[in-house]
């Protein structure tokens, strides 16, 4: 059985002390340990941003790609080898600004991927600009008089977009976070876990205190995660009451399931050294 220590590289994550990412990283490792997964069967694909640095400090396969494109990279890897467990990581800008198109399209395909979005409602790596999840009026150097855009609602979009597992976690509630990651990874299909993450350096508004006053658990309210309309209704909550936990879950066949050509052997293990194309050649006579 792998231990947390074995999952850890010598590279210390280059985050500010007090950054919520440390706790998410811990929860992720914990989730892997609890599932007894083998590190070499795991691939973590991430985008660019503070959150994106995660694979650098984990001893699994890791690919730290470019800003906004983690999902298509993960999709390609998954289709080439669907025996891998693939976890995808991004920040809110990465996932919901530049990555929005892929976000919606990957969800409707229902590939078996687990997407962790570290949502700190700000651009961390580039030193504090407004993010698509920043609340209205949020002031940063790029919106010095306050943001005038309605923030994106990733939960609502995921439900509308066809995701089959949609959850929100709060980095401070580490056990719940760990459990949601486990559930997401066990879910057969695309799982979105939007994780409220504290950026101690650039987000002076949505602090843990701010959140502590607002969050509540869906589980405490007997929310039925199979009801899409109720899930959407819950997703629209915000402002003063912020629900946590599983909003929506649906069971639908995955993209991989629909591909007979990979039913028995993943693409990557199919032999290619002497593909017979004689029949094709004949077809041009």
């Amino acid at each position: 059985m792998v231990t947390t220590a074995e999952l850890t590289t010598e590279e210390k994550p280059e985050w500010c002390p007090g950054c919520g990412n440390f706790i998410i990283l811990k929860a992720l490792k914990e989730a892997i340990v609890q599932q007894g997964l083998e590190p070499h069967r795991i691939l973590i694909v991430s985008g660019i941003g503070q959150a994106g640095k995660t694979p650098q400090s984990m001893r699994t396969f890791g690919y730290h790609g470019i800003h906004g494109r983690a999902l298509p990279i993960a999709t390609g890897a998954r289709l080439a080898n669907h025996t891998l467990k693939i976890i995808v990581i991004g920040g809110d800008g990465d996932a919901y600004a530049i990555g929005m198109g892929h976000f919606i399209h990957t969800m409707r395909r229902n590939l078996d991927l687990t997407y962790l979005v570290h949502n700190n409602q700000v651009y961390g790596l580039t030193k504090g600009q407004t993010a698509p999840t920043s609340i209205k009026g949020f002031k940063t150097k790029s919106t010095p008089t306050g943001s005038i855009e309605e923030p994106v609602n990733p939960i609502a979009l995921a439900i509308a977009g066809g995701a089959t597992f949609v959850a929100r976690a709060y980095y401070k509630q580490t056990d719940d976070l760990t459990q949601l990651i486990i559930d997401g990874m066990q879910h057969k299909g695309f799982a979105l876990i939007d994780i409220i993450q504290y950026c101690i350096t650039f987000n002076k508004v949505n602090t843990p205190t701010w959140y502590d006053q607002r969050v509540y658990k869906l589980a405490d309210e007997q929310h039925d995660p199979t009801n899409k309309i109720r899930a959407f209704e819950k997703a629209l909550e915000g402002g003063e009451r912020i629900p946590l936990g599983l909003f929506y879950r649906e069971s639908r066949s995955t993209y991989e399931d629909e591909l007979p050509q990979i039913k028995d052997v993943p693409l990557v293990h199919q032999p290619i050294d002497d593909v017979n194309i004689n029949a094709l050649i004949e077809s041009f006579f």
Binding site: E11, I66, P72, G76, A77, L79, Q270, I272, V275, N278
Partner: protein
């Protein structure tokens, strides 16, 4: 003008079945042992608009379409008017005399021979759909040239098998009636005859199909692409082989997703490629750099068309060379290959996969609309010539023996042996940030210089295995053509014409544009008596690249950038002006 070969052309409205008629005619000829070249001329419209297709047939090997035609099939009056001036002296026109009324004078030429055939009338009598006119017209053409109709019958039987016997019969009857009508009435007035030769049937293939066969033979397992003319046929052909050849072909949400999926699949260890045109390639540029930084092999088929921007989607141009050579921020090695004909499309696509994996680099195969959509009879493609070389993958056993797997280990040729996700002892992390040999973000100065150099060493290593360019044609020549890509065919034809004029020409075709074979090119150019650069673009991009690498300026340039491919005649004509 009698000879066992001719140039046949068919035109009409989009929706008139020009392409299927042309293909049937072409295949009937290639099956009869002829050499064939076909070229289509379509606007960017689904219906309406003028479509045309030219089929050139010969007993000698041919490499390009021609400017002048012998026999024109006009499914509407517009076609007659548009193409009449392309007819050779005493060429013929098959058209529907009941529908198109015209005086000889309308055409502005006295010499052409008119062969009215009641296309619609025959179709009506057979109770066929209007589109069937095209089959009647092909039949009539064969009748006129006394060709073996059974070759066409076989094709029709095969094509329409799925639609049932009645349809097959209707088609065969249509062809026969057209054949008989023309043969009995006009055969003696049209001197060009085609006689099925004893030669074996020939392979007739487009550049685009050849690319697909190359990719399949190379073991490409994953294709992600977004439709874009002229590359959609590649996506579609490969999609149709998904199950039989066990690969995944994914139509993506955009080209950005396509290149990044390819990167993911290749990272996971599968041979993977994308195909696109310049506009889609523009969107792939960032992904290209990602692949380069993380040393993930990628094959991109880039089918050029006239730009900038949307430009002329269904036309041809060679205007993305410099873009392909320098696309994406920063500096990294890349391999750029420009096949010149269908055979090269096959062998070089195959080779692209080998090079991508052997040097863990990105290979751009630059093709264009003309090359992709024109078809040509070729020497039967030989899969055995196309061997798989996957470069350095570490086995589980090799990995188990290592103290620690080092993804970007230092090696003499810059290629660091790979592992793939799933290999127990091959765990690594890779990042688009600059990194150390382990793949960890690292900004040290010495490390940076070292790893940039390491990546560039791969290009040197690739240069050592890539074949040097050769002069084709007479070693001692009066003039040397210099070109790349699809101008190869028209240039070779022009060389034949020049030979008839007593001008000895040879041809330097640049196939590998990066790494650029500067030394060899410099030698060849410096020895040439007269250089003529031929490019299907405005700014003579290859000319610029050659001068950058060799210092040699080629002042004589034959350039064309109106969206159409060169005809051999045009090149020949321009050369005669220059000489």
């Amino acid at each position: 003008m009698e000879s066992n070969g001719l140039v046949w052309s068919i035109g009409g409205e989009a929706g008139d079945g020009i392409l299927s008629a042309g293909e049937a005619f072409a295949r009937a000829c290639s099956r009869g042992g002829f050499h064939v070249f076909t070229e289509t001329d379509l606007p960017s419209i689904v219906r309406g608009g003028h479509n045309a297709m030219q089929i050139r047939v010969d007993t000698e090997e041919i490499f390009a379409h021609a400017h002048e035609i012998d026999l024109l099939v006009a499914l509407n009056k517009d076609t007659m008017l548009q193409h009449v001036n392309q007819l050779k002296p005493e060429g013929g026109i098959i058209y529907d005399g009941d529908k198109i009324t015209l005086e000889q004078g309308d055409l502005g030429r006295e010499d052409v021979r008119l062969f009215p055939v009641p296309l619609a009338g025959i179709v009506k009598q057979l109770e066929g759909k209007p589109i069937l006119r095209n089959v009647v017209a092909v039949g009539a053409s064969l009748g006129l040239m006394d060709y073996d109709l059974s070759l066409l019958d076989d094709l029709l039987a095969m094509s329409f098998r799925k639609k049932g016997e009645t349809v097959v019969k209707q088609n065969i009857d249509a062809a026969r009636q057209g054949y008989d009508y023309a043969k009995t009435r006009y055969s003696d007035r049209f001197p060009l005859k085609l006689r099925k030769s004893a030669a074996e049937p020939r392979m007739l293939i487009s550049g685009s199909a050849a690319v697909c066969l190359g990719a399949l033979r190379a073991g490409c397992k994953f294709v992600a692409a977004y439709p874009m003319t002229p590359n959609t046929p590649i996506l579609e052909y490969l999609a149709s082989k998904e199950r039989d050849y066990s690969l995944v072909v994914k139509q993506t949400e955009d080209e950005i997703a396509a290149i990044n999926m390819v990167i993911g699949a290749s990272l996971a260890g599968a041979r993977a490629m994308t195909c696109t045109s310049g506009g889609g390639f523009s969107l792939m540029v960032e992904g290209l750099g990602l692949a380069a930084m993380t040393e993930v092999p990628v094959v991109i088929i880039e089918g050029q068309r006239p730009g900038p921007s949307t430009g002329m989607p269904t036309r041809t141009e060679q205007s993305d060379l410099k873009f392909a050579l320098s696309a994406s921020q920063g500096e990294f090695p890349r391999i750029v290959i420009a096949p010149g004909d269908a055979e090269e499309c096959f062998y070089l696509t195959m080779e692209a996969f080998n090079l991508a994996e052997k040097f863990q680099c990105q290979v751009i195969v630059l093709v264009d609309k003309y090359l992709l959509t024109s078809t040509r009879t070729v020497e039967k493609l030989d899969p055995a010539r196309a061997k798989i070389e996957r470069g350095e993958f570490l086995s589980d056993a090799q990995l188990a023996e290592m103290d620690e797997y080092i993804r970007y280990s230092d090696t003499p040729n810059g290629v660091s042996p790979r592992s793939i996700p799933g290999q127990r002892d091959g765990i690594f992390t890779s990042t688009s940030d600059e990194h150390n040999e382990l793949g960890h973000i690292f900004e040290g100065k010495e490390n940076r210089t070292w790893i940039v150099d390491k990546r560039f060493r791969k290009l040197k290593a690739a240069a050592r295995v890539i074949p040097a360019p050769e002069l084709r044609g007479e070693p001692e020549a009066d003039l040397t053509f210099v070109g790349w890509g699809s101008t190869k065919g028209p240039i070779r034809e022009a060389m034949k014409m020049l030979a008839r004029d007593g001008v000895r020409a040879n041809f330097l075709q640049l196939v590998y544009l990066s790494p650029f074979p500067a030394k060899r090119v410099g030698e060849i150019l410096s020895k040439a008596r007269k250089l003529i650069l031929v490019e299907n673009n405005k700014t003579a991009q290859l000319g610029g690249v050659i001068r950058e690498h060799t210092g040699v300026l080629i002042p004589d340039r034959i350039l064309r950038y109106d969206g159409r491919p060169f005809t051999p005649e045009k090149i020949h004509h321009k050369v005669m002006e220059v000489l």
